[in-house]
Each structure stands twice: as structure tokens, then as C-alpha cells.
Symmetry: C2
Subunit: 360 residues, 2 copies
């Protein structure tokens, strides 16, 4: 869980004029202030030049923080936020199990939707959102922030797709998180409201696998196996704090683990890893931290015939919001395809539904 | 494939007198000089004070290298090496598919056996060796050198067993190797002689998983899935250059990949990794190399409630040979149990036999 950004996104920056001019004309409302990701979503949109027309959600510490940060944004009720005349886009970041309902209502009201992940928690919800998307002609994006918000992951995926390490054969994705038990709302502990650990957290790893193994979104992705367990929360019997999912597509096997077991001493919310093996080399991402190693985050290491290279990703642009706004204005498809969003969500929910108990 | 050691093992060292005195009385012969591991096995035994009574094997570049290194060792025929009066132990390092036959013959001749891995390539071979072991009262060890020859792996396993990171939940083991196509003998390319990539390479990762998840050798280890493929050797149709095996025991899931895809620029024969997740922290081993990171090998990183720690493993003793010789002399069981050796070999061969094709 990240802290809200320190500055006031949308205020003047070195690129302020250009960015605002590019993004001007796109208004958004926010429905649900239930996960700190909402700060990342809103900050991205504001920085890219969109403007907020209002927000809706329940009272709580996160809402308090949000309203301190976005003091000029009017508080609305949910129907008003979903159907606001000045909103082209609705940002959805409520309780996970309620997001699909908000997204489908917004789509049917003629709005585009940007959802925090998980975008849906059941296959029925997914079918409903996709139906609303198709019948409305509007778009539903789920932001897989572990890729779109991390320069090393973004660049690793780009290089893998470009054939930099030959034909990709294997992907290992690890997404450990901190439990932070005392900071979690009630919905977090129950898969009926959170979606479960695979439908929620593993969407990131499934997104990365699909983006690497099948950028054209045309192959069949096989769900080989999945499992979930509760190994550290005996007083929360419904909690899932560990999960695994194995996928295959286009000759690439992907093995992914997510958990809430990150030790307090790590100094980051998690030690996310992405290890891509190709026929001509490897790409390794230490996304957040290199424990007891190099400082900072976003570490990308490439091994190829020429040697081992620490890739400087400082120049990689995190431009998801600018691309999203461009797609909204021009009807283009530069951020990610609808097929990709649908597939990742379907795989995550299916992996969750079919998950076997963690072995005892 | 390591080079033969530079010095003359068994010659005087700082600890020479003690070591020789402890190990004196154990003579060994060598049958099969088909993999550079034989140098590691023999060097370990000599350094621990055993003495070589002779060696047998086919002509070839490796035999030439061996006879330059061990100029005082008499060349024997195989029956003479297996039944040498002065040998208490036979070191087996021939063509993998022939090792079990040599091991069983040696056991039935009243010798102990130290085998390079893979010790067996079929379940029938395993049954025969175990039968010979039981009827003779002698012992058959397979040296899983990625653990017993690496201080970081040894120490990680010790810490995991000691509860340093709480209850272990998950293990990821990666064992990539260099293909080195122009240095490989004919038997390497055919699973009928090599055993296949899982029966051969993955024994290391299976050894590590079992040693971590079930040190008592009492649990049932479940083979969840396995697969093998050929992704880089189109002109060698029988070759397997990538494989995966997933295991579970005692609430621990283990996911393991082995391959021959290491890029030439790595500067090591492979980038072996071991990542252990517990309820109270993680242990991460970069066994051979930390690509584009810290120098050297044997990197062990522990994350716990107190912080991230790079563990200095310089003081960890690689004492497999001393323990083996002590076990031979005293009939003790300090190196590893017979049950462990049998289980690892059975799992590896079973994973190999049941492997599905790598997804296309």
C-alpha cells in the first residue's frame, strides 16, 4: 500500500502546459476510495492533463486522506459520480466485489472506465462488464500497475516482445506483498469481497505473462494449475495469504506466486520479481528492491551472448495515463487491447475459482 | 561443466595431517570418467584423506585429463575396479544409464558406492540398486553437488530447517546450465543414455526441495506436474533442453525449472537460484553468480523482521567427503539418509517418466 503522493498532481510541472493541453477535455469522476491505488490512478490522470469532476465513496481514513489531497473535488453520491455530465471517464476503486457493478453502470451511462485491479471478482461480473462495454461502445481498462507503473517491468516486457533474448520459453513471476494487518479494511479479509488472492494480486503476474507470451492476444492461454492457502492468519479463517498459478501459451510456461508474507524488514511493500528465460538470454526484474544489494527499485538485468548488463531504465516513460487519454479522445488502442484486459481478468478469476487448497 | 582442479588434491594442506589421519584406511576405485563431476568427487575424497586404488573407463579427452591429474592411479578394467580388494568405496561416474549397473555390482561385491548424479535413469535401475544396497548392507550415496558443493545453498537449507524464516511455505529452484554443445559426448544428447533433463539436472532441485520441506524423510512428497521440451536444439530431436517439475510436501510447494539455455555472456556454467519463502522471512540464493551485481558466487540473502542481510557464508564448511568417510568407517548416517537418496532419485525419474511435452 503506497502513501498518497506528496505533491499536488496536475499543478504546473516542467511539461505542464503541453501535458494539460494534450489531456484537456477529458473529465473524470471517481467512485470508491477503498485502496491507495486510487491515488496512483488519479495522480496519473491529472498529470496527463485530465480534470476531476467529483468523487464518491464511503467515509473512512482513506477518504479523509483523499479529500485532504483533492480539496477542490466535490463529494458526490454514487449515481451522480457514475453519470456526471462532465465526466468522460469513471475511475473505479471501491470494494473489489463492487467494482464491476460500478463499471457496468458507468459504461451503460456512456462513460469510459478505468478500474483499479481487480476489475471483477466473478466470471458473471466479467460477462456483465464485457456486455456493457460492447453494447455501449465505451472502453473498460484495468490498470495492472505492477507493469504500467514500473519502468523495469515495462522495459523487460518490451525487450522480451522485441526478441532481445530470442524466443521466450519460461516466465517466473513473484508478487509478494506486506500483510499490514492493522491497516486493512474488513473487505480485505474475505474473498467474497476481495475476490481472493489470485483474482486480486495475481492479475499483475497474469498480465505480465500474457503481455510477454502472447502480445497479439490471439493464442489460447492454458491454465495448468492453481492453488491458494492461508498459512499465517489462523484468526482469519477465510483469508488467503498465499497462492500460485501456472499458465502456458505459445510455448511459454509461466509460474507465478503471490503472497502476503513479506517480512517487515524488507523496506518495501513487496519484493516483486520477473524472470524471463529465452533461447538467447534472460531478463530479470527486481521490481521494487534488490534486497541487500543495489539501492533503489526498478532493477533490470539482461544476460545475453555478450555479457551481463544492468539496464538503465531511468528514461523509460511511464505514460499509461497519456496513452489512455489519447485512446479516449481518438478511439485508438495504444495502452492495451480490450481482449488483453478481458483475458487477464478471466484467467485470474478462473484460477481463483479452480484453485486447489495449498498442500498440507 | 567445471574444469579439473588446479592443484594435486590429497597433498599436504594446512589441515593435511589431521585430515589424512581421519580418512586413512578408506580406499576407493573409480568406474567411469564421463563427466567432469568425477574430478569434484575424487578431489573431495582425497582432500578428506581417502586414497585411490585405481580407475576404469573408456578412452577420451576426459580420461586423458584425468590420467594427467591422477598420474599415480593405475588403470584397471571395470571388473577389477568394482571388486578391488583395497577398495571400500567405488566412485561411479560413467555414462548415466550405466551407473546403476556399476553401483549394484559394486554393492554386491561388498563395496560402498558414491555416485555422480544421476545415480539411476529408470525406476527398474533404482529398484535394483536399492535391492543390492539392502542385501549387501552397504551404502549408495548420490552426491547432489549443487547443495553439498555450495556454501550458500548448504547454509540456506540449514537456516530453513532451523526455522530462521518461520514455517517454510514455498520454494523456487532454478537450475539453468550452459549447453556447451561442442564439448558434449554422444550420450549427452539422448535421454536413453543421459536419463533426460529431469532425471539428470532436476535431481539437484529435488534434493534441495526435499531437504528443506521434509528433513525427516517421513512425509509423502507429491509430484504435482512435470514437463520437458526441446526449444533450442532442432538438429538433435531427442534432446531435452528445458524441463519443469512441481512438488509438494508438508505444506510446502516447490517449483523447479532446469534448462540448457544459459547465454554465453553469463560468465558461469549457470545462474542457479533458490528462493525460499517462510511465514517470517525469505532466503534467496544466487548460487553461482549475481549477474551484473556483487562479485563472486555463493550469495545468500536473508530478509526477516529485522531487515535484509547478506549472509557471509565463507565459514560454512563443505565437508561432504569427511562426513561420507566417517559414515563409512563408523556406520553412521551424518551425510544424508538412504531414504533421502532413494526418494530424490525416485522423484526425479518419475517426474521424467510422467513429463508432459513442453507446451507449444
Amino acid at each position: 500500500m503506497g502513501a498518497p503522493p506528496a505533491g499536488r498532481p496536475g499543478e504546473a510541472t516542467a511539461l505542464g502546459c503541453t501535458v494539460v493541453a494534450m489531456g484537456s477535455g477529458v473529465g473524470f469522476s471517481v467512485v470508491g476510495i477503498e485502496h491507495p491505488h486510487v491515488f496512483e490512478l488519479v495522480e496519473g490522470l491529472l498529470t496527463a492533463g485530465a480534470h476531476e469532476v467529483g468523487h464518491a465513496g464511503d467515509d473512512g481514513p482513506l477518504m479523509e486522506l483523499y479529500e485532504q489531497w483533492r480539496a477542490d473535488s466535490p463529494r458526490l453520491d454514487v449515481p451522480a459520480a457514475l453519470g456526471h455530465d462532465a465526466a468522460d471517464l469513471v475511475v473505479v476503486a471501491g470494494v473489489p466485489a463492487e467494482r464491476a457493478g460500478h463499471a457496468a453502470a458507468a459504461l451503460r451511462a456512456g462513460k469510459h472506465v478505468l478500474s483499479d485491479k481487480p476489475g471483477v471478482t466473478t466470471l458473471e461480473q466479467l460477462d456483465d462488464v464485457v456486455d456493457a462495454e460492447r453494447s455501449s461502445g465505451r472502453r473498460w481498462w484495468v490498470l495492472f500497475s505492477e507493469r504500467f507503473g514500473n519502468r523495469a517491468v515495462s522495459e523487460a516486457v518490451r525487450r522480451a516482445r522485441a526478441g532481445t533474448i530470442g524466443r521466450v520459453v519460461d516466465v517466473v513471476g513473484l508478487g509478494p506483498h506486506s500483510l499490514l494487518a492493522d491497516q486493512r479494511p474488513d473487505w480485505f479479509w474475505d474473498p467474497a469481497t476481495s475476490g481472493g488472492i489470485l483474482a486480486d494480486l495475481a492479475t499483475h503476474q497474469i498480465d505480465q505473462f500474457c503481455a510477454i507470451a502472447d502480445p497479439a492476444d490471439t493464442a489460447v492461454v492454458e491454465l495448468i494449475s492453481s492453488s491458494v492457502g492461508n498459512v499465517s492468519c489462523p484468526d482469519r479463517p477465510t483469508m488467503q495469504d498465499v497462492g500460485r498459478v501456472m499458465l502456458a501459451a505459445n510455448g511459454v510456461v509461466g509460474t507465478h506466486r503471490v503472497d502476503y508474507l513479506t517480512a517487515a524488514g524488507l523496506g518495501s511493500w513487496g519484493d516483486c520479481r520477473l524472470m524471463i528465460t529465452g533461447t538467447a538470454g534472460t531478463l530479470e526484474v527486481r521490481a521494487n528492491v534488490d534486497p541487500a544489494g543495489a539501492d533503489g527499485g526498478e532493477h533490470l538485468i539482461q544476460v545475453d551472448a555478450d555479457g551481463t548488463h544492468r539496464i538503465d531504465v531511468a528514461g523509460v516513460e511511464l505514460d499509461w495515463a497519456a496513452r489512455l487519454l489519447a485512446d479516449i479522445r481518438a478511439g485508438t488502442d495504444t495502452l492495451m487491447t480490450a481482449a488483453h484486459v478481458h483475458r487477464v481478468c478471466r484467467l485470474a478469476v478462473t484460477a481463483q475459482t479452480r484453485a486447489r487448497p495449498w498442500p498440507r
